[in-house]
Symmetry: C2
Subunit: 386 residues, 2 copies
């Protein structure tokens, strides 16, 4: 694991949490840098002494770019801590968490699995980035164990519902972005052409999903307890400003979106993504999915323009995730639901084990990178219900 530039919250040897800047395999303690007077420019010291990224997020693009150029000068000349020696914490308190559904391959796969006799894509899908609100207080940092949820489901569609531990626990490979700067005024949407100015950076997201709970609960108001037990994010936030050379044209949108969602190119991002699985009997993980964020239909700017088109407020600490990122070919699907076609075609692992859905003790690791810019990983291990 190596970074070009990324921000996170770390502690070391039981210290209090503080902001770190990762570069290569080293972590720079920004509180120490601020205390040493190395960040006495344009309000940088204050936001760098905080316990988490929220003040930096709130400070907005001018401070973000000021800090970025200042750190470029400082890095290399100061003491650092080894990346593998730090404990990572949730980088910022999540205000509102929105989960989109922006991969056409994922939405099509789900449509085929859940509504085999109908059109896989619903009528609205190509006209707006479908999304919903998730639970912000169960967004957790990578490494947090994920307890298998209990819940209601109806395993026999003609029988009564039952309550018990989920038998269809899944992951979802997603990319999230974190917004900052001042809130837009309530009632005043962000314009799609400048919406990215509100994005501080990106994280990897595992939107754990209990498919049996979700299937029984989700009509008519959408996913709730099938998702709200845990959502894991990678601890290092990669600034969007560090990714400008990896922007690529997005997929053709047909029909063209309505004017408020028409984004200029390059709206895509060439971010490679992988999912690795390690069962309790495996000594090392195996890759089970490999895909790219570049092909995702709805862009981050379009998601933000849509989210605020009704006047809703976004600002520091809001997290928006892409929805499951799936590619077109076999092995590029971002969930077990798709990789195993709802468990009907279990994965056969190199040691002969099979998996339709996740079992207790399974560890899921998602990684991402744009060329030489690493995103690190988001890891979570499933713990059984006691």
């Amino acid at each position: 694991m190596s970074f070009t530039e990324a921000y996170g919250v770390f502690s070391v040897d039981g210290s209090s949490p503080r902001i770190g800047f990762a570069s290569g395999e080293a972590v720079h303690d920004l509180r120490a840098l601020a205390d040493a007077g190395a960040l006495d420019h344009g309000g940088l010291a204050e936001v760098c002494r905080a316990d988490d990224l929220l003040p930096l997020l709130a400070a907005g693009p001018e401070v973000w770019s000021g800090l970025r150029s200042r750190l470029a000068d400082v890095v290399g000349s100061v003491e650092t801590i080894a990346l593998d020696g730090v404990t990572m914490h949730l980088p910022f308190p999540v205000r509102d968490f929105v989960d989109f559904y922006s991969s056409i391959e994922h939405a099509t796969n789900l449509g085929r699995i859940l509504r085999p006799d109908g059109e896989p894509l619903l009528a609205n899908w190509r006209h707006l980035p479908v999304g919903y609100h998730g639970r912000s207080s169960t967004v957790v940092v990578s490494g947090t164990p994920v307890r298998r949820p209990a819940g209601q489901s109806r395993p026999d569609p003609a029988g009564p519902p039952v309550f018990g531990s989920s038998q269809m626990l899944d992951f979802e490979l997603e990319v999230g972005f974190v917004t900052g700067g001042p809130d837009n005024r309530m009632g005043e949407p962000l314009d799609v052409s400048s919406a990215e100015d509100s994005i501080f950076g990106l994280v990897l997201v595992n939107d754990w999903s209990a498919r049996d709970i979700q299937a029984w609960e989700y009509q008519p108001l959408g996913p709730f307890l099938g998702k709200s037990f845990a959502t894991s994010i990678s601890p290092w936030v990669v600034p969007l400003a560090a990714l400008s050379s990896f922007r690529v044209p997005g997929p053709v949108q047909s029909p063209p979106p309505l004017p408020h969602l028409q984004a200029s190119e390059p709206r895509g991002l060439d971010l490679s993504l992988e999912v690795w699985l390690r069962t309790p009997s495996m000594s090392s993980p195996v890759r089970i999915s490999s895909t790219s964020f570049a092909g995702v239909y709805w862009s981050m700017a379009q998601q933000l323009a849509h989210l605020t088109s009704n006047g809703a407020v976004v600002g520091a600490g809001d997290l928006c995730a892409s929805g499951t990122v799936s590619g077109a070919g076999p092995g590029s699907e971002g969930s077990l639901m798709e990789l195993t076609w709802r468990g009907s075609r279990p994965l056969v692992l190199p040691n002969g084990e099979t998996r339709g859905f996740l079992e207790d003790g399974d560890e899921v690791t998602m990684t991402g990178w744009c060329g030489d810019v690493g995103f690190g990983s988001v890891v979570g291990r499933v713990v059984g219900l006691s």
Copy 2:
């Protein structure tokens, strides 16, 4: 408007916001009381000097009851401020906002309107309190103007979607509860029998809804922009502890819920609710709905047990709303969608005006009371898109 006991955040003559305790038509400044040494017992002073209710919410039931009995001793012997002379603020920052769908009359009405050929109640409805996450950052205090949202809709079901201001703006009459005390441990559900211990108090909620935006967006992930532009709450939080003499048996639940949702009686609350409308040409409002919270199918304890059954965390600052409260008879429906049957039977107001949905300048006021315990009101006026 008169209170027995309620907590809110107020300012007066441009002062900084502080916690107030309302009793009768008087507001007690709890910061001033703390500064005067009147609250030097059991950690009361610290939470009462805060800018909002969050520290009090976090302090938990022992502090809540300690403050309640202390204030009972103090009230009447100290200076107060007239209720009508204060400016009210959002009483606490909302962490996660969950909106349930717990009135069987409302869910049945919506089913009949939206799916006239099917069973009005979906298969899961009687087995669990259906709910979803709303947007916490657009929960606003009573009195905040509500901008008519823009959004995508498809007025002609055979035609393309259009973007413009909502033509079907509605209110929803709801009751919300605010939780507090320490968070449950992630992965460890609240037990239905003690879940109410986590409830600090209740507010009235107007869950503004744009029916045309909602109809086009909500499949398959539920309501999003049709709701997230604004949710108004009443400024005074009435402690649940003040309502014990108004508890009543809930409606019979058939089939009986699964064991984790079986709540002991009395699970209901005899809370009377009204909706009043004033159009720009009316000098005083007219009552357009009158109903009761007592008949709501799923209780607050059942909602909390369900919400945490998968291990999700609740604690200080979480807001859960009931969903629209509708009664069985005409004039007891909690939304214009139902009162006018999706606009097809417009209300005729005393001055001859008609309303299918809300027009610019319309002011909606919701009030509630349990016997002599007032909840005050939640008011909002619709402002046109400029």
